[in-house]
Amino acid sequence: MAIVADVHVRTGRRSELGLLAIAVAVAVLARGLVDYHAHILEPVEISVYAGAWIGVLALVHLALRRWAPFADPVLVPAVATLVGIGLAMIRRIDFAYAARGRDTNFGDVQTVWALIGVALMLLVILLLRDYRLLRRFTYTSGVLGLIALLLPLMPVIGTQINGARIWINVFGRSLQPGEFAKIAFVVFFAGYLVSNRDTLALAGPKVLGLRLPRVRDMGPLALVWVAAMLVQIYERDLGTSLLLFGIFVAMLYVATERISWVVIGMGAFAVGAVAAGTIFAHVGSRYTAWLHALDADVYRSGQSEQLVRGLFGMASGGLFGTGLGEGRPDLVPYAESDFIVASLGEELGLTGLMAILVLYVIIVQRAMRTAIGTRHGFGKLLATGLGFAIALQVFIVVGGVTRVIPLTGLTTPFLAYGGSSMLANFIIIGLLLRLSDQARRPEEVRA
């Protein structure tokens, strides 16, 4: 005898279709405005562009209907909008560089990366029919992540660009393996924590009203802390180190429900970061540029020039922005990659930037909701970790550009120019779609 509440599951595919239509409109209107201000707007070309968008999104939509019918309906439209805005903005910056005699084709390259990213996302959904399969590769992915993280330090393939040693050269293209390491580490952390959380949740001594874990269980946290510090010192990349450590601490907290892990983790990272800033000059100069950005000396020496130009760009945008194609985002170095948030802030204003940030919030919220809906502990941790990966990355980039935290070289997911980041983030969305499909699938279909 059973009393089962009548559960009505909406797949949400029809809502997704409606949202995708608006996403296409946003992407095409953005491109139209950019082209108009560059005086190259042609009805034929913009129609082809719109057709391509409709074609790709229709393909994704039909693929989801076929292979992941219960996947979250909001993820794909949110990502499509971000990519659409990003592509238009990068194209606009190409035009601005061209007007100053610098010939770049970031826009076209980024379009190709986005298409490869979509293909990868569909491939993940197609090949990975059950996310629980990933748990078998817990330690394999941990090792892969570590290798990917250390590759840039290898002599021949590792390259140093702009002071950070986070690139490798493959087939004449520079690749950021750290972006992929992020995903591998989330899989590793999820698999590791789901097996070991009971030990890590054991209560230890109580200090100042805070129940600390046992000292002998601190091993994993210490290990990740050391790895994060090494990345910061040898690869000169504060962003990746903060991202990896942040993901680990967040997942540790979700797995054990002990707030003391968060306190210990944050404290350890702060101590490490301050120590690194005092000992190593290149880390220290980042902190100086952040704390004394508007000092004349610091600005003139070039340390905070980029940051300050970005701030002034956003200030000139005001509430509603100068309008796409009407500002001067090219005055900021790396306006198409690290500082795309400042470029968008200038041309779309606070109103536009807030909409973009809310889109990220929606993506992260869907990841958390998926984690709640998933029945499997590994799936819960995986979805949480992937959500935190996006959330922390956006926080680190936007925080850096708006001078909340020291500036680091991470990319804004889906917006900034950069192939590795585009591909890695599309893989994350593919995993989230698969996870949410399994989480939302009703019992009778699930069997």
Binding site: I85, V358, Q365, P442
Partner: protein
């Protein structure tokens, strides 16, 4: 194009962007993933409908628990009801007969609670020498009688409240 239409398009772009964001949020509101959320401020009407539906599904359990509709037992404990006073199934009542009542998330249970904090076979309410007892079946998140965690069978008296996750069960006669 005139300056005016360009300005309108520029603002239109921001409006469109926010339209997308707000409709995405609207989709999220409507999408409750099939789990019922009994929040305050949601329409009272829909809650009543839900309760009516829960009653309807609860009704056949009389036959299984040994009591026919309308039959009055002279034995005191047999008149008892298990009432759900909080949680997704709020308003449901189950008549308690001679047979034990199994509460949990598995569909084989007498009372099925769809709650993340509820185990497949969570707890059991049974009759022992004309007294109602409640026993935890090794659940992950525990069964609480009042403020005490239930482990071994303990007496379940009239007016006592059992808590399982967000669900509260009360014994009424």
């Amino acid at each position: 194009m005139s300056q005016l239409s360009i300005t309108l398009l520029r603002m239109g772009f921001l409006v469109l962007l926010w339209a997308l964001v707000l409709s995405a949020i609207a989709v999220l509101r409507a999408d409750l993933y099939g789990t019922r959320v009994t929040a305050r401020g949601r329409g009272r009407r829909s809650r009543q409908e839900r309760d009516a539906r829960a009653e309807k599904t609860a009704a056949p359990s009389r036959a299984a628990t040994g009591i026919r509709a309308g039959s009055i037992s002279t034995q005191n404990p047999a008149e008892a009801h298990l009432a759900v006073t909080a949680g997704p199934l709020k308003g449901t009542t189950i008549p308690l007969g001679q047979a034990p009542v199994l509460v949990g998330r598995a569909s084989t249970c007498t009372l099925v609670i769809d709650d993340d904090y509820c185990s497949a076979k969570h707890c059991r309410v049974f009759l022992d020498a004309e007294r109602w007892m409640v026993e935890d079946l090794g659940s992950t998140n525990g069964t609480y009688l009042g403020n005490h965690k239930v482990t071994d069978p303990v007496p379940f008296r009239e007016g006592d409240v059992i808590r399982i996750g967000a669900t509260a069960l009360e014994l009424t006669t």
